[in-house]
């Protein structure tokens, strides 16, 4: 009986040992597989880096200073900018501003307000509305008349006018024109 128990115990230990060895072997295989993948990835990175370098060099060659100068001579004829194309200081920049004309649209201003009481989490629309609803007495900010013309405002006004002038026709209008053209050609 003792012999049998000893045999069983030995067999058990052998099985445990075998299991551990199998687990270790599996782990080693797995580690080696991952290591191989890493090595392959490194190989790929090296190849891609070299390709990248090669293509970058090709680009640099095609965009070399001499090529660009030759291209400019043949195609574009750009010349160096003159002093009239530079503004020496902010005062010269401000000189471009014009007084606001009568009946001109309101200038677009960046929103301003005291956000000390507003938590960071309240930047969503709902919370902002809730905060606004809580202050029914708050009067809308009156725009103070500016004493002198603002360059920013002049730019915005010009941009708005330009946008009106260059207002693109809607897709429906374009499509209607297309249909008319097509019908005419048929």
């Amino acid at each position: 009986m003792m012999v049998n128990r000893s045999h069983v115990k030995t067999a058990g230990w052998a099985a445990v040992l075998l299991g551990c060895a199998s687990a270790v072997a599996m782990l080693m295989f797995k580690v080696n597989a991952v290591r191989s993948e890493v090595r392959n990835a490194e190989e790929r990175i090296v190849e891609l880096q070299r390709d990248n370098l090669y293509l970058e060099t090709e680009f640099e060659t095609r965009a070399s200073q001499q090529q660009l100068a030759a291209l400019n001579r043949m195609e574009f004829g750009y010349v160096a900018p003159g002093p009239g194309q530079f503004l020496p200081n902010e005062r010269a920049l401000a000189a471009f501003a014009e007084p606001r004309a009568a009946g001109a649209p309101q200038m677009i201003r960046v929103a301003r307000g005291d956000i000390a009481d507003v938590e960071l989490a309240s930047f969503s629309g709902e919370v902002a509305e809730a905060v606004a609803d809580d202050e029914p007495e708050a009067k809308p900010r009156e725009e103070k008349p500016t004493a002198q013309p603002s360059f920013q405002r002049a730019v915005v006004e010009k941009a708005e006018d330009a946008a009106k002038e260059k207002a693109q026709p809607s897709f429906a209008a374009l499509f209607a024109d297309y249909r008319l053209d097509k019908e005419a050609s048929e």
């Binding site: 090296v46 070299r50 370098l53 293509l55 060099t57 200073q65 001499q66 160096a80 020496p88």
Partner: protein
């Protein structure tokens, strides 16, 4: 007993055979033992060697990714990181007729079809030449440095004889741009001529070659300088040109051009003739560009106390058997600004004579004129500079740029010292870190420098340098047209025309030297070939191109204050 002994003494043959057998066996055992010992010793040695290799000597480690990405030779970039020289693994298209190896035809398709397909992939290749190579049956290159997409297309042809082996290349993406600065690498991997030679050890150092070496050169500025100088060569039919642009505060060289140039990617016989660097290796008598330096030395020494003082200018100056004359009679007398504006040799020689030999010679030495130019390039010419005490006539001729021959880089460094407040600093091709300060040595006082800035600007506004007056850039400078020496004296038909300039003169930041070798007069210059007609206009075209790149915007509302000197100059109209 005696019988027994007698028996032993008279041993039977069997006994002797036994004895002999025992002796042979013993000998065999001893020999076997020796052989075993030898094998044992060999085994011990082998084991010891294995242990040594395993424990002490490092084995062949596989290269890490970083090591494989490390270039064989470090990259050279300009001050903004634009690559000027780099090593990379390229692919070549190699024709190997033995690839199939069955003794049959080397190509699957006909050579004509393959040549046509290759010509479609490589538009720059000559189809007839490709066909001859394919038909020759000899292994040869069909193309070098092919692109990955070209390689894929060749692969798609399905020809085993077309191979693309990897090759290590040193490539210069900007071609011949700044070729004299960069240099090239020869077939043995040795850097030649430019910074490739000067930085040879650093570029190969495994610890440092991963980081690119930044030069002080700005590729955009270099491109503009070379472009305009080349246009000048064509316009004035000169045999060559040189130019340098220098930061007056740091001595950094922003651009350095010697034309005609060479292509470091392909050194052929034509290119080899142009390797000589005209900016740092060729010495010239740079003529009247020396006059401001002489005047500055006289102001500094106190021999010129008033710029309004007038000197006689009508008659040639007699010094022993020599006569110093001007190209034409400028007037009865000239003051100092007029002397520079009209470039009078007679008056400059008088100013130098008053200054004295020692002081002018010392100024020239302090400006680095007596030694090779201070720069990292290996190609640096020895100036023709009389080191012993000058004679009176040499002192006077040197004052207007004759009897002394220096490189254009010498002149650039001297002008930088003259306009930057008076500090001489050596030129460098290495990018200086922000805030890196070079001590330098004081040659002129700030007051002298300020006066010279005014007078250089006046030369461009009122004098021979008018064509360099790029609007809004406040250029100041001096023209110089010197006859080239030949056998039996100066050759009147061969000029070296130079314009040495700085801008903006209200606060100088850059010095430009433009020089043309043997320009000719033509209809566009009304037959003139002096610097005011070729070198000065070149500077006038270069400055507007490079100014905005270097942070100097044109401003027509600003200029250096000339109000105190303007009344001294009789202007036309």
């Amino acid at each position: 007993m005696s019988v027994a002994l007698g028996g032993v003494a008279q041993a039977s043959p069997a006994f002797r055979l036994h004895q002999e057998r025992r002796r042979v066996l013993y000998l065999a055992k001893i020999r076997g033992l020796w052989i075993a010992l030898v094998f044992f010793a060999l085994a011990v040695v082998a084991l010891a060697r294995i242990a040594w290799l395993g424990a002490v000597e490092p084995g062949a480690q596989p290269l890490s990714m970083a090591q494989r990405l490390l270039p064989e030779r470090g990259e050279i970039v300009d001050r903004n990181g634009v690559p000027l020289a780099r090593a990379f693994h390229a692919r070549a298209l190699w024709y190997n007729p033995q690839a199939i190896g069955d003794g049959g035809a080397p190509l699957v398709k006909s050579p004509e079809a393959v040549a046509k397909a290759l010509a479609a992939i490589f538009p720059e290749a000559d189809e007839g030449r490709l066909l001859r190579k394919l038909k020759s049956g000899k292994p040869t290159y069909l193309a070098r440095r092919i692109l990955p997409r070209q390689m894929a297309k060749v692969h798609a042809l399905g020809e085993p004889a077309l191979e693309y082996p990897p090759e290590k290349e040193r490539f210069y993406p900007q071609g011949s741009l700044a070729a004299h600065v960069i240099g090239f690498v020869d077939a043995d991997g040795e850097g030649k001529v430019g910074m490739e030679e000067a930085l040879q050890d650093r570029l190969l150092d495994p610890a440092g070659r991963g980081e690119p070496v930044a030069l002080s050169i700005d590729a955009r500025v270099q491109g503009a300088l070379e472009d305009e100088l080349m246009a000048g060569i064509e316009m004035h039919e000169a045999i060559g040109a040189a130019g340098v642009i220098l930061d007056v505060e740091t001595g950094e060289v922003l651009a350095l051009a010697s034309l005609p140039s060479f292509n470091p990617n392909r050194i052929d016989s034509d290119g080899a003739q142009n390797i000589f660097n005209r900016v740092t290796n060729q010495v010239y008598e740079l003529g009247s560009t020396f006059k401001p330096l002489s005047v500055a030395a006289a102001i500094e020494a106190g021999t010129v106390k008033s710029l309004a003082r007038r000197y006689p200018a009508r008659e040639p100056l007699k010094v022993g058997p020599h006569r110093i004359r001007d190209s034409h009679v400028i007037g009865d007398s000239l003051n100092v600004p007029e002397t520079l504006i009209h470039s009078s040799n007679i008056v400059t020689a008088q100013i130098a004579d008053e200054l004295g030999v020692e002081r002018l010679q010392k100024t020239m030495v302090d400006l680095g004129m007596s030694v090779r130019p201070e720069i990292e390039l290996p190609a640096r010419g020895h100036p023709l500079f009389e080191t012993k005490k000058w004679s009176r006539i040499r002192n006077m001729t040197v004052s207007y740029g004759h009897g002394i021959a220096v490189t254009p880089l010498h002149l650039a460094s001297a002008y930088a010292a003259m306009v930057n407040g008076g500090i001489y600093r050596p030129a460098t091709l290495m990018k200086r870190a922000p805030g890196e300060y070079v001590e330098g040595r004081r040659v002129f006082s700030p007051a002298t420098s300020a006066k010279m800035r005014q007078m250089l600007r006046m030369i461009v506004v009122y004098g021979t340098g008018r064509k360099a007056d790029a609007e809004g850039f406040r250029v100041g400078g001096k023209t110089g047209s010197a006859e080239k020496p030949g056998s039996g004296g100066y050759r009147r038909t061969s000029l070296v025309s130079t314009f040495a300039a700085a801008f903006p003169m209200d606060r100088p930041r850059y010095v430009i030297i433009a020089m043309f070798d043997e320009p000719t007069g033509n209809a566009s210059t009304y037959g003139q070939r002096t610097a005011g007609w070729n070198a000065a206009p070149a500077v006038g075209r270069i400055v507007p191109r490079i100014g905005p790149m270097l942070g100097v915007d044109p401003d027509a509302t600003r200029d250096i204050d000339l109000s105190d000197l303007k009344p001294l100059v009789v202007t036309e109209g």
